[in-house]
C-alpha cells in the first residue's frame, strides 16, 4: 500500500480536533469535586449525550476497521451483528435491566454482582474485567499506531505516545464526563467524516443496484449463489451456502442471544454511560435511543467494505494482499479513504479514524479506573478511606491504566500469539456471563455459590469446547484442538466461536440453577429489593409522555430493525 502525504489543511483539521478534545477536559476539570463526579459524572448526564456516548464507547477499531473488513469478507450478512445482535440487546438492557443497575445505586457492574450475589462473584468479574480493559485499550493503541505507520509513514512510537497522552490528559482532568463529552464529539466526527466516503463510493459503483450487480461475480467466483454478498438471510439454511460459514440457529442463538446480550447487557464499558444518566428514565432511554443510530450504522461501516471488495474484484488489486495470497480485508476502510478523498476531506476522514480508536481507548480506561478503585482497591486493599482519597486513587488509576495500555501495545508487537491467547481466555470468561445476570435479575432463588460456580463451569465448558474442535483449515493450537484430537470441525472460525458461546452460556445457566437449588440463599427479600425483578416496584412512568417511555421506544426500534431485515432479506 502506497504511503500518502498529508497537506497543511489535513494537519490543521487534526490539530483543531486535538485542541477541542483537550479543551473539553480542561473546562470540565473544575466540576470534578468528588469521586462520584470523576467516576459517574455525578449521575447528571442528559439522555441524548448518554445515548450517543453509549454508542460511541463501542466505536473503536473493532467497529470501524473490523466491520468494514467483515463487509468485504462476508457482505451484507455482517449486518446481523447489528440487526440480530446489538439492537435487541440494547433494547433489552434499557427496558429490563437498567432499573436494577441504576435503581440499586451500584456504582459498577461488578458491584451489582456483590449486592445481588456475594464477594467472590464480584471479585471474579472485577479482576477479569479490569485486565480485559487494559489489554483491549493496548490492542486499540497498537492497531492505531500500526495503521498510521502503514498509510502515513508516521513513527510507531510517536503515534503510541501522542494518542496515550491525549487520552490521559482529557480523562485525568475531567473524568467520565470528559470521556462522555468527547465520545459524543467523536460520534459526530465519525459520521460526518465517513459519510462522504460512502456517498462517493456508491456513486462510483452505480448506486446500491450497481453495487449489487458488481458483487454477484464476487459471490459466484467464491463458489456461492450470486446473492451471497447482498442477501442477509436467504443463504442461512446451511453453513456451506454462505461466506460466514454459519447456519441460522448458530447465528440467532450464538450471535443474536449469547454474545450480543453478553456484551451489551453486562459489559461495564457501555453500561457505565447509562449509569451516568441524570435519572432512572434517562438511564433506561439511553441504550434504547442509542439503538436508533446503531441500526443505521451498517450503511457507514459495512457498505464501504462491500464497495472495497467490489472494486477489488473489478480491478484485480484494489486491496493490498497478504503473504498467503488473500486480500487484506482490514485495510478496506483505509484503502477507500486514500482512493476517494482528496487533501482536506482526507484530513477529516483520518481524524475520524483516529477519533474512533481514541474513543475505544478512553472507554476502556474510564471503565478500568472505576472498577479498579471501587471494586478492587476500596474493597480489598484500602477500605474505609475518605472520598478525597478515592478521587486521588482514580487519578492514579487513570495514569496506571494508560501506562499499562502502552505496555500492552508493545507486548502485542513482540508477543502476538500471547495476546491472541489472552483474548481467547477473556472470550471464555465473557460467554457465560449473561446467564449469571439473567438468573440474578429474574430468579430470586439464585445464590452466590450458584452464580460463582456456574460462571466457572461455563468458562471451563467454553475452554473445553474450543480445545476439542477446529475450524475448517485450522491447525491445532490457538485456533482450537489444544486438548487433543479435534472431535468436530466447524465450517468457519465464526461458527466455532458462536457454538463455543452457546455451550458456555447453557452450561452456566443450568449449572447456576442446579447449584442454587442445592445451596442456601443467604440474601433476605429485603436485601434483594432493587436487585431482583419480582421484588422491585416497577419504575413510575405515569408522568412520561408515550414517546418517552422506554418500552414504547423499544418497540419502535425493534420495528425499524425488522423492516431493515426484510429490506435486505
Amino acid at each position: 500500500m502506497d504511503q500518502i502525504q498529508l497537506g497543511a489543511v489535513d494537519y490543521a483539521i487534526l490539530i483543531v480536533y486535538f485542541a477541542f478534545v483537550l479543551g473539553i477536559g480542561w473546562v470540565l476539570r473544575r466540576h470534578v469535586k468528588s469521586s462520584e463526579d470523576f467516576f459517574l459524572s455525578g449521575r447528571s448526564i442528559p439522555t441524548w449525550i448518554a445515548g450517543l456516548a453509549f454508542l460511541s464507547a463501542n466505536l473503536g477499531a473493532q467497529e470501524v476497521i473490523g466491520m468494514a473488513a467483515s463487509g468485504a469478507k462476508y457482505g451484507i450478512m455482517t449486518s446481523h451483528f447489528y440487526w440480530v445482535g446489538a439492537i435487541p440487546a440494547m433494547v433489552f438492557v434499557g427496558v429490563f435491566m437498567m432499573p436494577f443497575y441504576y435503581g440499586s445505586k451500584a456504582r459498577s457492574v461488578p458491584e451489582y454482582l456483590r449486592l445481588r450475589f456475594d464477594e467472590k462473584t464480584r471479585g471474579f468479574n472485577a479482576i477479569t474485567f479490569a485486565l480485559m480493559t487494559i489489554f483491549s485499550s493496548g490492542i486499540s493503541m497498537y492497531a492505531l499506531a500500526k495503521l498510521l505507520e502503514l498509510i502515513l509513514g508516521w513513527d510507531f512510537n510517536a503515534s503510541i505516545v501522542v494518542s496515550a497522552v491525549i487520552v490521559l490528559v482529557y480523562i485525568f482532568l475531567g473524568g467520565l464526563t470528559s470521556a462522555i463529552y468527547n465520545e459524543v464529539l467523536q460520534f459526530f466526527l465519525i459520521v460526518l467524516g465517513f459519510l462522504p466516503l460512502v456517498l462517493l463510493g456508491l456513486k462510483d459503483v452505480g448506486g446500491w443496484s450497481g453495487l449489487v450487480q458488481k458483487l454477484h461475480p464476487v459471490a459466484t467466483s467464491a463458489g456461492y449463489a450470486e446473492g451471497a454478498w447482498t442477501d442477509s438471510w436467504k443463504h442461512l439454511g446451511s453453513a456451506g451456502a454462505n461466506p460466514m460459514g454459519v447456519e441460522w440457529f448458530g447465528m440467532m442463538m450464538g450471535l443474536g442471544f449469547v454474545l450480543s446480550f453478553g456484551y451489551w447487557c453486562t459489559d461495564f464499558l457501555v453500561v457505565q454511560r447509562a449509569m451516568a444518566a441524570e435519572n432512572m428514565g434517562a438511564a433506561r432511554r439511553t441504550p434504547v435511543l442509542a439503538a436508533i443510530p446503531k441500526a443505521l450504522f451498517p450503511a457507514l461501516v459495512i457498505v464501504p467494505g462491500m464497495i472495497a471488495i467490489a472494486l477489488h474484484h473489478q480491478t484485480g488489486g484494489f486491496l493490498p494482499m497478504n503473504a498467503d495470497g488473500t486480500p487484506n480485508y482490514n485495510l478496506a476502510m483505509p484503502a477507500l479513504l486514500i482512493h476517494y478523498l482528496p487533501t482536506g476531506l482526507l484530513g477529516l476522514g483520518l481524524t475520524a479514524l483516529m477519533a474512533s480508536f481514541m474513543s475505544g481507548m478512553a472507554g476502556n480506561v474510564t471503565a478500568f479506573n472505576t472498577v479498579w478503585t471501587y471494586d478492587i482497591y476500596q474493597s480489598y486493599i484500602k477500605p474505609g478511606q475518605s472520598d478525597r482519597h478515592y478521587l486521588r486513587m482514580g487519578h492514579a488509576a487513570t495514569v496506571f491504566g494508560i501506562v499499562a495500555s502502552v505496555a500492552a501495545a508493545y507486548a502485542t508487537t513482540r508477543f502476538n500469539n500471547i495476546m491472541d491467547m489472552l483474548q481467547l481466555v477473556f472470550a471464555f470468561v465473557n460467554a457465560p456471563l449473561f446467564a449469571t445476570f439473567l438468573l440474578g435479575m429474574f430468579w430470586r432463588r439464585a445464590t452466590g455459590h450458584g452464580a460463582f460456580y456456574g460462571l466457572l463451569l461455563g468458562t471451563l465448558a467454553a475452554a473445553a469446547h474450543h480445545g476439542l474442535t477446529l475450524p475448517a483449515g485450522g491447525v491445532p493450537g490457538i485456533k482450537g484442538a489444544f486438548l487433543g484430537a479435534a472431535l468436530h470441525t466447524y465450517p468457519s472460525e465464526m461458527a466455532q466461536n458462536f457454538w463455543t458461546a452457546i455451550l458456555a452460556w447453557t452450561t452456566c445457566f443450568l449449572g447456576t440453577i442446579v447449584i442454587s437449588l442445592l445451596t442456601t440463599c443467604r440474601k433476605t427479600d429485603a436485601e434483594l429489593v432493587g436487585l431482583v425483578h419480582s421484588l422491585t416496584p416497577k419504575p413510575a412512568e405515569g408522568h412520561l409522555a408515550w414517546y418517552e417511555r422506554p418500552a414504547t421506544l423499544g418497540v419502535a426500534v425493534l420495528g425499524l430493525t425488522i423492516v431493515l431485515n426484510l429490506i435486505f432479506w
Binding site: V16, Y17, P342, L348
Partner: protein, 66 residues
Amino acid sequence: MQLDLRLPMGLMFSAFGALLTIFGLVSDEALYQRSLGINVNLWWGLVLLAFGLAMLALARKGRTRA
C-alpha cells in the same frame, strides 16, 4: 449540566467547515480527479459549516431559555 456540549461541538464543526470551504475555493481542480471530479471539499465544507452553525444556534437558544 456543567457545559453545554453543543457549544464546543458547534465551534469545532464550524472551524472544520470553514477550513474545508476556503480550501475548496482556492484549490486546483486537478485535486478532485480522485473524488469523481466533484469539489468535495467545498460542498462537504458547507455541510459541516451549516451543521456547526446549527449547533451554535441551539446552544444560544438553550442559554437564552435557561
